[in-house]
């Protein structure tokens, strides 16, 4: 075969001789990456600082008094003052915050200020796996449901299947998630007796038992997320399916399933992935209702319980960890944009 000489390549990467040397470019790239990482970490610190300060300020507004929690009914004024002094509650707010921040910066989140005075980090470490697992399972199930639903819907856009799916997702979204949870409990737990309710089995007690107990709460979470993801993904898929490259893929004989998964899904998933990131972060800290419904010892239960007793040290620690996870999740999501669209990779690099 002849290899014609080609002159129309000026717009591409530039000829090797004109461009800066490879090593110089690599060095510049490494520097830019370092700087980006630095900015990221600085952002993270700023977010954590603001979140902890905000939480502290908010907690001081709540008039639940840990001293009362500790003493219970029928204490003397002197006892009360002594306990308050002991807990440092009479110190100025900023001073207390500075104290807490100083220890937190060293990784010491302190101990609960109300009985039984557990170590805060220990309590978080007990609650966090429950919440993380629920959130991951819930979102994972949502992905599993929403991707095929959205594909099906988008492929038959405007048709009967599409209208049914749209109506379904819309009604799920318009119902509060605890109602869906109640319905599931009533149906699958009370009615059919397939799943337990109000029990939790830790992962180290065996994966099977753990998943068995996690299924219903995760499904409750997954319902709303599925509806949201399906809607977003469907509309982006419909746009993508109009693209020339989809027609081009068909015109070379590729099958529908291949086109859906290999050609259409990735370019259509930006909004869905963004939502996914936000959902994951949000779910880890605030599945309170679901945790309550299923009596699960997760982060939501921990924070609400601590707030009710005025245990600000525990709340502070838990909120800090939740914020950390939130920021980390969204950093991961940002990274995934580079995978979803190679053009982003270049503008970042």
């Amino acid at each position: 075969m002849t290899n014609q000489s080609v002159k129309d390549d000026a717009g591409a990467l530039g000829s090797a001789s004109a461009a800066p040397s490879l090593r110089a470019r690599r060095r510049a790239g490494a520097w830019r990456r370092t700087r980006r990482l630095f900015v990221r970490v600085a952002e993270l610190m700023a977010v954590l600082f603001l979140v902890s300060l905000g939480t502290f300020a908010l907690l001081s507004l709540i008039d639940t008094d840990p001293a009362v929690t500790i003493l219970g009914e029928g204490h003397t004024q002197a006892d009360y003052e002594a306990v308050r002094e002991d807990l440092g509650l009479n110190d100025p707010l900023l001073e207390r915050y500075a104290d807490w921040l100083g220890s937190a910066a060293h990784g010491d989140l302190g101990a609960s200020i109300v009985p039984p005075y557990h170590d805060v980090l220990d309590r978080i470490m007990a609650a966090l796996p429950v919440s993380v697992e629920l959130a991951l399972l819930g979102v994972g199930m949502a992905l599993l449901f929403s991707i095929p639903l959205a594909m099906w819907s988008a492929y038959h856009a405007g048709g009967r299947i599409d209208r049914w799916i749209s109506a379904g997702t819309f009604s799920v979204l318009s119902v509060p998630s605890f109602l869906a949870g109640l319905l599931l409990i009533w149906l699958l737990s009370n009615g059919l007796g397939w799943f337990p309710r109000a029990e939790w089995s830790r992962l180290d007690e065996g994966l099977g038992a753990n998943l068995y107990h996690a299924f219903l709460p995760a499904l409750t979470i997954a319902l709303a997320e599925t509806a949201l993801l399906t809607r977003v993904l469907r509309s982006d898929l419909i746009t993508t399916l109009q693209e020339d490259y989809i027609l081009a893929a068909r015109a070379k004989g590729m099958g529908t399933v291949h086109i859906m998964f290999s050609d259409a899904l990735r370019p259509s998933s930006f909004s869905a992935v963004t939502i996914l990131g936000i959902s994951l972060g949000r779910l880890i800290g605030s599945t309170v209702i679901v945790e309550y419904l299923f009596a699960l010892p997760g982060m939501g239960t921990l924070v609400v319980g601590a707030a009710r007793t005025g245990d600000y040290v525990t709340v502070q620690g838990a909120v800090l960890v939740i914020a950390l996870i939130y920021v980390a999740t969204n950093a991961l999501i940002d990274l995934s944009y580079g995978y979803l669209d190679p053009r982003v990779r270049r503008s970042h690099a």
Binding site: T2, Y245, L247, D341, R343
Partner: protein, 336 residues
């Protein structure tokens, strides 16, 4: 050499739109021999793309398209095929090159993936062999340094390079028919020529038939065996390239020809676009569709739609053709 590769008879495509049924292709007939090059020319909206895609069978499963007539590709009735049979045909029998190479490649897929998946879809080869074929394909369409290019993403290539990749993709399974739908419209002028030359060369090397679609008669001039001129979803004139360029008979074809600066008139002269707008295909005029814009229009033109009437192989749909006979008078530059 036996039966033609492609025979299209009385093909119509009616699209359901918000305004009502739109007849994008209306009673088109044409045929194409193996290795032959057919140019289809017409202005924007004349139905060229819909015709091309219908011939390929790409509209077959779309409920919004009502198709009638027949398309026989290598003896097979395209419009009657099952989806799986169509998919088996797309690639080894017929391939398509698209107008805009910026959008015809998937931005998240590497150049190589586009080619390798096409090869492996139709041939039982290992991944390694498919990659080898992909490298050969890139080489064949004149892309330098294929080993580097194969791992790049479309956005890392220039427009001309991308169109070469699109061509390589269409040729991955050596189709008998290549449909190029305005393959150069989106490209720089200098690159247009290179792409057209490339298509010429590949047609010669691979011996395939080509349908070359353009809104510019200048693009098909000198590169096609036959030319069909489309207007308002119909073919209004068809002839071998020589006689169409020398003696166009339909006023529309003649006006298009006058609009090519390189053939007539001074160079750099802005092309004289034909006044007026194309007909509304939801409610086409009852008589000749070109009547509203035609210099030679008579009263009966508006009532009686002209049929495509053949004089030998030269067909014209006009009651008052410009060059009624293939006369030597109109052909001052004609030498043989």
């Amino acid at each position: 050499m036996g039966r033609p590769l492609l025979v299209v008879e009385n093909l119509s495509a009616v699209i359901t739109t918000g305004r009502g049924p739109l007849t994008a292709v209306d009673g088109v007939s044409l045929s194409l021999d193996r290795g032959e090059v057919l140019g289809i020319v017409g202005e924007s909206g004349s139905g060229k793309s819909v015709l091309a895609r219908t011939i390929m069978g790409l509209h077959c499963s779309d409920p919004r398209f009502a198709l009638s007539g027949t398309v026989k590709l290598d003896g097979r009735d395209v419009l009657g095929l099952e989806p799986s049979q169509l998919r088996a045909m797309w690639g080894p029998e017929v391939g398509m090159v698209f107008q805009d190479p910026m959008t015809a490649l998937n931005p998240v897929k590497r150049v190589g993936t586009h080619l390798v998946e096409a090869v492996r879809k139709h041939q039982q080869v290992t991944r390694r062999d498919a990659v080898g074929q992909a490298l050969d394909l890139l080489d064949m369409v004149g892309i330098p340094d294929p080993r580097r290019r194969i791992n790049q993403f479309p956005h890392q290539l220039s427009g001309g390079m991308r169109q070469r990749v699109v061509i390589a993709m269409a040729l991955a399974n050596r189709p008998k028919l290549l449909i190029a739908d305005e393959p150069t419209t989106a490209l720089d002028v200098t690159v247009q020529r290179q792409i057209l030359d490339l298509l010429d060369r590949l047609r010669g090397e691979l011996g395939m038939a080509v349908i070359m679609i353009s809104h510019d008669l200048g693009v098909v001039a000198g590169r096609t065996d036959r030319v069909a001129v489309m207007y308002g979803g119909e073919i209004v004139e068809t002839a071998d390239a020589r006689s169409l360029f020398d003696a166009p008979r339909h006023p529309y074809a003649s006006a298009l020809l006058a609009a090519i600066p390189s053939l007539k008139g001074a160079p750099h002269q802005r092309l004289a676009a034909i006044d007026g707008t194309p007909p509304d295909l939801v409610m086409p005029p009852s008589g000749c569709r070109f009547a509203a814009r035609c210099d030679a229009v008579h009263d009966d033109c508006r009532v009686q739609p002209p049929q495509l009437i053949f004089d030998g192989t030269h067909g014209t749909a006009c009651h008052y053709p410009v060059n009624p006979l293939i006369s030597t008078a109109s052909n001052t530059s004609g030498d043989t």
